[in-house]
Symmetry: C2
Subunit: 498 residues, 2 copies
């Protein structure tokens, strides 16, 4: 042919190799020294100019692209790999996970199915998950990007299995009775999002009140289901929490399992982080009953510290799972031989058809460290949460805002003589300053109408002393701010913000 | 504290560094030598023993985990990084993309939002995408795992914007008229999957016949919409194809845009691979009208050759997009200062809350190579498809099964004197042998009831000569098989399989 052929492979492999080794050294240095840097720092305004630049037409080359990364990207991270980052429920990742990602990206396997090792790796990871969660070996499962997708997968199967019609074929317009689902008022918003997406309407989700431990009120749940039946609704599913996002509360999963069995309802567990305490014989009684669920959603990138993104949905009934996502088509036929053979077609068990090889970093990390290490680290994080809760309880200036049964601690700085509104403003300001000074990165929530500093510990780098620092610095900054002059300023800022 | 503290960081960074550099060298060697290996090879049966091993309790260490990878995973890839892999619509990835993935995995950013560079990178990639696709700068968008998710996002917004009720709140039980959506009979099954998931019911999707170029029949589309209105349905959306999965056909997107404007319907384009021919002024007229869509779904990991997973949904109306996915919650509050500041919260624009830093590999690759390089590679793949189509057309033993307007070529080996059924069996056997011998990996489909060998070219490593090899080997194996004795065996195998 006349055309000159081009490729994205390098002309000079030696040069690419040099750049690659430099990147690897830089990143390992970066990980090793993470404790020495501030948790987070604000983005400088001039950074926007860099990211407003137009589409590059001509090549910069990989060295310049890397230089851009080093100058404009790496210095401004979220901070979640730092030992004192405890915002939301982010995990930290590991150095070995970074290397595993490089391997996966080199293979660049598309894991929709077919005869390839990546499928075998995912099957093995799923087998291990069933073992961890006490699910039977013939249960079904799939790796997804995270808890939100896993909740969506579980709730899709729940809807389709229990609606009483062929929802995928005929749609929710055809239901004979309006459907109803149940969860506690502390349930994660990915459940609300999923229910909206599924066409059920968020008004079909009954948010049941919680007790003072932030666990679902079982009597209220039963009463609501009975009332709904009386009113002509069809109750189809209860979503139980194995660790709520706000406080780590665990619903009474055995009671929910009993109700679902009796009422012929689907039992889904959102165990985004909490499901993994299955690993600990000591902690496992807290989530007793989870093993009776019809579906469980959880993440590896939270409390197994793997790189993003890595979540999992386990579904007890393989048939119900497959029926929900399978759409046969000639261009995706399976055969007995060739590339399109193989016995697992994950594209038929979830939303994604194109799927990355996210199983590899989980598989390699479990092999690298052994699962017992994760058990110890989870117990360590729980012990750290308990340590922080004790620090707070024993300090008259600090107030624990909720029980801390797992790895989440909500508290505030509470000097005498301040109104609730003033305390909200004061604690927001403390949070900002703790973050802005690079000391630590808790996040926040609102509990019973009160602003709380929230510490969620999915961090294998945190040490007990890091929580001493947090308690001490919250008090120090709090005292600074609560001194008369300083607080007048804060009050002004916060009333202006309202 | 008394507890000994553990971490997943290595005790010996020097050793980890050595392993890492060895991995990098191995993977670069692997990529450099890919052409020398068979495209694919069957998995040996004894491999299953390895992947049946129970959950590892004790640590193996990273070196042993890597050894397991080298022995059991790397040798059995899907094959999609090979120059002669043309199955489904898989991309190849790049060496630079592998390095970018390592960087992203090192940072391990959770990209739900917040004040961090990863958000800026994603915003910039989205700006570039809008520029490429001819969308206005104030349009909305999000990176997702792939075309299936991007179609789901687009169709969710379509449903919510056009249903005439607040679907997220009240659900599809509350629609006053049943909804109807429209696409060609050649539309990808991710659309059917999404419509099932969304609770619309697949029976609400009208599959309009195609013309002999496999493009939607516009007159039939108009007639069906009119009939549906007459019958009391509410037509809400047309899905147009910019490159169908079977043959690369492009629907008349301007005609669809006109219909949607006139009928107040949403216009969604599935441009999984084809949308990217926007990059080529020469090819762009083929997809004229796409820039008028309300939403577009496309992938980077297909025809921009980036690593999995990387798709994109663009939505013209930011408000409609945000309204569809936003669920406010106190633990996800945004603030003016601190970590939870920042002006883009992607968790409110898609299903995922936990999100990986998939923008980085796109950003770095575009910088590395410049966008014009992608234009040339896409044109190269189209020229290669044309070359293969000409080889087929000029060869009496081969039959082109459909026009090949883009990068997909469907054909079969067609000796004289065989029935249609026999031709199906013969061509399946040819496909298997081409794959099993490691020569090339096309996939297959069925067109007008006939089995076709299908070649989809999203491969920056393919050369024109690779298609000469394919045509020659198909004929060679075909002749072998069609010789009387051999074919009797094939016939037996295939009638047994029925």
């Amino acid at each position: 042919m006349n055309q000159p052929e081009e490729t994205l492979d390098p002309q000079d492999w030696t040069k690419l190799r040099e750049v690659g080794h430099r990147m690897l050294d830089d990143m390992l240095d970066y990980l090793r020294s993470v404790r020495e840097r501030p948790v987070w720092k604000p983005l400088p305004e001039q950074l926007d100019q860099e990211f407003d630049k137009p589409l590059p037409v001509a090549p910069e080359g990989i060295e310049q692209a890397y230089e851009d990364f080093m100058q404009h990207v790496l210095p401004y991270p979220l901070g979640n790999i730092h030992p004192r980052f405890w915002s939301w429920v982010c995990g930290t990742g590991t150095p070995g996970g970074m290397l595993a990602e490089m391997l996966a990206a080199g293979m660049n396997s598309g894991v929709h199915g077919a005869a390839q090792s990546a499928v075998k790796v995912e099957q093995q990871v799923l087998s291990w998950c069933k073992e961890i969660m006490g699910f039977p070996a013939n249960a079904s499962g799939i790796l997804v990007t995270g808890g939100s997708m896993a909740n969506l997968v579980g709730l899709t199967v729940a809807r389709n299995a229990k609606a009483g019609i062929e929802v995928n074929q005929y749609g929710l317009k055809s239901v004979t009775k309006p459907l109803a689902l149940y969860c506690s008022a502390q349930t994660h918003n990915s459940v609300h999002k999923a229910i909206g997406l599924l066409g059920l309407g968020r008004d079909s989700l009954r948010e049941i009140p919680v007790n003072d431990r932030f666990e679902i009120d079982i009597a209220a749940l039963e009463a609501t289901i009975a009332q709904d039946r009386h009113d002509g609704f069809r109750p189809i599913c209860v979503i139980g929490n194995a660790g709520t996002v706000n406080t780590g509360a665990v619903d009474d999963l055995n009671a929910i399992a009993d109700i679902c069995a009796r009422e012929n309802m689907w039992f889904h567990v959102d165990g985004a982080f909490g499901a993994l305490i299955s690993l600990s014989p000591k902690l496992r009684p807290l989530i007793s009953g989870m093993e009776r669920a019809d579906s469980i959603a959880f993440d590896f990138h939270k409390w197994m510290y793997t790189q993003y993104d890595a979540g999992c949905a386990l579904i007890r009934s393989e048939k119900a799972h497959h029926d929900s996502f399978r759409v046969p088509s000639s261009y995706l036929s399976h055969f007995e031989r060739g590339v399109a053979s193989g016995d697992a077609w994950f594209g038929e068990y979830g939303v994604e058809l194109s799927r990355s090889f996210r199983a590899l970093r989980i598989w390699m990390s479990i092999k690298e460290h052994g699962i017992d290490k994760y058990r110890r680290l989870i117990e360590q994080n729980v012990a750290q949460a308990r340590h922080l809760a004790e620090l707070i309880d024993s300090n008259a200036e600090l107030e624990l805002m909720a029980p801390a049964p797992l790895n989440i601690v909500c508290f505030r700085y509470r000097p005498l003589g301040f109104t609730e509104e003033e305390l909200d403003g004061l604690n927001k300001e403390i949070l900002f300053q703790i973050q802005e000074r690079g000391i630590a990165a808790p996040s926040s929530t609102v509990l019973n109408g009160k602003f709380a500093i929230r510490v969620a510990i999915c961090n294998h780098r945190s040490r007990f002393e890091d929580f001493d620092v947090l308690a001490r610095e919250v008090c120090r900054i709090g005292r600074e701010l609560a001194s008369n002059d300083a607080f007048d300023q804060v009050r002004e800022i916060w009333s202006a913000a309202d």
